[in-house]
Amino acid sequence: MELLLSSAIGMLTAAGIYLILRRRTFAVVLGTTMLSYAINLFLFSTGRLVVNQPPILADGVTSYTDPLPQALVLTAIVISFGMTAVTVMMALGAFLEGGDDRVDMPRADREPEVARAPADRAGEGRA
């Protein structure tokens, strides 16, 4: 089970990091979602992996599973869910207003248009 969980966390993290390094917003949103899944699983495992044990100490119980990481995961799920919604809305807004869904800032963010050579502008290939 340890192998299963750790490889799942590793693969989700790798996929997530790959995706957030893409330059289209949709991939980045998917990437952050993947990363948050990986982190949720990871948080779950910080209380150590135990199966079929009660979550609360009581009389006569010798082994138990840690309930706190589960509460943390719940909080993290809620927050990442809300965050994903906010990101999607903002990405959509940027797409509708700006005309493309790239994540990087266009050159016009750093320097005024007049200073740019025409060849530069053609090379960027976007409205």
Partner: protein, 530 residues
């Protein structure tokens, strides 16, 4: 238990919710309630400062649960000072937003403002690591909304970048907390400190991993090089007053580093050396990049953003020493740099409103040139750290605190040379914007090509640009100017009363470097709790 301790969290939360529920459509009511709320937050913060100045660490146990099981809030001198600084900044900048008409350029400005304050104050007050994460998320969610206030393609795109970067930072935060919880079995900062202190040195590999991960998270927030890439575009594209409020947000990251690495991982543990080795070079690079950015940029908004990066660099040099003297210098410089950077953002917003855009280029003399030039001049002096303002005192304190260290040549060299670069950058910007425009008087306007803000559009002065403040919207431009004056007055006061402020900073540092007090306050004397 003193219930006022939780007021800086509850008050903005309630006012923010009230604004959303009942005042959504009434801007006047929003303004009245929101400004009154921030003013009462300031009153509460001053009371907390007075309370904390006794030197005791006050603890508020939520739900009266015993400490390490329940969440606690901790009030010490640093937390009280930061809450007060937040409240002062928020009130002044909010008056600016009201005066300049920024708050009517989109929906929910005041509600988001209050939620932002709730998150920032909560992050300063909490004594629980996971709760710190939650408050970070609150302040981030509010800041996403504030950052894109007013809209516009460039701002939205910068917002997407900001949100993506910070979401990655948040997942890193959770990973760090997970590691720390797995090693120590607790999330209460004081309890974690107690357990780290008794941990055998050979078992600390995972703990060190967690500590460095946590430092990365705070470094993202504080915009330390090489994790600063989100900041220039975000701050330059954010509305002026929002960028000014964000001056406190980088300080949240700095605060996190001070809090964790004096309380939980203090100097005598192995972790400290690992962190210090990383922190100081990062701080030097941050300083260099920030000050070179001031010189290199072609946009006034980015100039202020790079000034913010540079100030974090100076601050981090002091923080990375982890000695009481350097921490005191950091506390003083933190107050100064927050006020100075915020003032710079507001002045640049005023310039943008009068010139039509923020590009550094020759243009006709703008209305109110003299007053704005004077304010820019004063702020630029404060930001680069020249006498007579508090920036100079702050830098002197930082230099003095690093005098005996082995890296003194690097630190002094970086601070002094980069200050020169920043002075040159500010001088160039100021003379281009304010002085050279007089040379153009009487010449035809044709030699003044206007640079468009967006690709593919032909700009005209008539078309309102969402990037900048619209003077036609302004409720009272003079109120806006007065609030910038208030920030400058704060800098002057910080210079004149440097003695008393330094005494407070010294006491703050002494308290921070004595973690036993926090452990005693949080974990002992728990009678009457559940």
């Amino acid at each position: 238990m003193n219930h006022v301790l939780i007021a800086p969290v509850i008050l903005p939360a309630v006012i923010g919710a009230l604004i959303i529920l009942w005042m959504r459509t009434d801007l006047l009511l929003q303004r009245v309630f929101s400004i009154a709320g921030t003013a009462s937050l300031l009153a509460v913060a001053l009371y907390l400062c007075w309370l904390a100045s006794s030197g005791e660490v006050y603890v508020y146990r939520l739900g009266n649960w015993a400490a390490p099981f329940g969440i606690v809030l901790m009030l010490d001198r640093l937390a009280a000072l930061m809450v007060a600084l937040t409240a002062v900044l928020a009130l002044v900048v909010q008056l600016y937003a009201f005066g300049s008409g920024w708050d009517r350029k989109g929906w929910h400005f005041h509600a988001l403002w209050q939620f932002q304050l709730m998150g920032v104050c909560g992050a300063f007050l909490t004594g629980d690591a996971f709760n710190l994460f939650v408050f970070f998320e609150i302040l981030l969610i509010a800041s996403y909304g504030l950052m894109i206030h007013g809209g516009g393609p460039m701002r939205l795109r910068a917002g997407v970048q900001y949100i993506a970067y910070n979401l990655a930072g948040s997942t890193l935060f959770l990973a760090a907390l997970g590691v720390l919880y797995a090693v120590t079995g607790t999330l209460n900062m004081a309890d974690m400190a107690a357990r780290v202190a008794v941990m055998p040195a050979e078992d600390t590999a995972l703990l060190r991993t967690g500590a460095v991960l946590l430092m990365l998270v705070f470094a993202v927030k504080a915009s330390l090089v090489p994790l600063h890439f989100w900041l220039p575009s975000t701050y330059a594209n954010a509305p002026g007053p929002v960028a000014a409020l964000f001056a406190i947000m980088t300080k949240v990251g700095v605060y996190g580093i001070i809090r964790f690495y004096t309380l939980v991982f203090p100097q005598d543990t192995v972790i400290e050396s690992v962190v210090m080795d990383l922190l100081l070079p990062a701080a030097l690079f941050t300083l260099a990049i920030g000050q070179i950015g001031i010189l290199g940029t072609r946009n006034l908004g980015r100039l202020a953003a790079f000034a913010a990066v540079g100030s974090v660099g100076t601050l981090m040099i002091a923080v990375a020493q982890f000695t009481p003297q350097a921490t005191a210098a950091a506390v003083y410089y933190m107050i100064h740099s927050t006020l100075a950077v915020a003032a710079l953002f507001l002045i640049i917003d005023m310039i943008g409103a009068r010139r039509g855009d923020l590009w550094l280029r020759l243009d006709a003399v703008m209305p109110g040139n003299g007053l704005i030039a004077a304010m820019f001049f004063a702020t630029a002096i404060a930001v680069v750290g020249m006498p007579p303002f508090s920036g100079f005192i702050g830098k002197l304190l930082v230099l003095d605190a690093t005098r005996g260290t082995p890296e003194v040549a690097w630190i002094w060299g970086a601070v002094l040379i980069s200050s020169l670069v920043a002075i040159y950058g500010m001088t160039r910007a100021g003379s281009l914007v304010f002085w050279k425009s007089y040379e153009l008087e009487g010449k035809p306007a044709a030699i003044l090509p206007h640079a468009p803000m967006r690709p593919g559009r032909i700009p005209t002065k008539l078309e309102p640009d969402e990037h900048i403040q619209d003077l036609g919207d302004a409720a009272s431009p003079s109120l806006a100017a007065v609030s910038v004056g208030a920030l400058l007055a704060g800098i002057v006061a910080l210079t004149i009363f440097a003695g008393p402020v330094m005494r407070f900073a010294d006491q703050t540092a002494a308290q921070l470097h004595d973690p036993a007090r926090y452990l005693g306050a949080v974990l002992e004397n728990q009678e009457g709790t559940k």
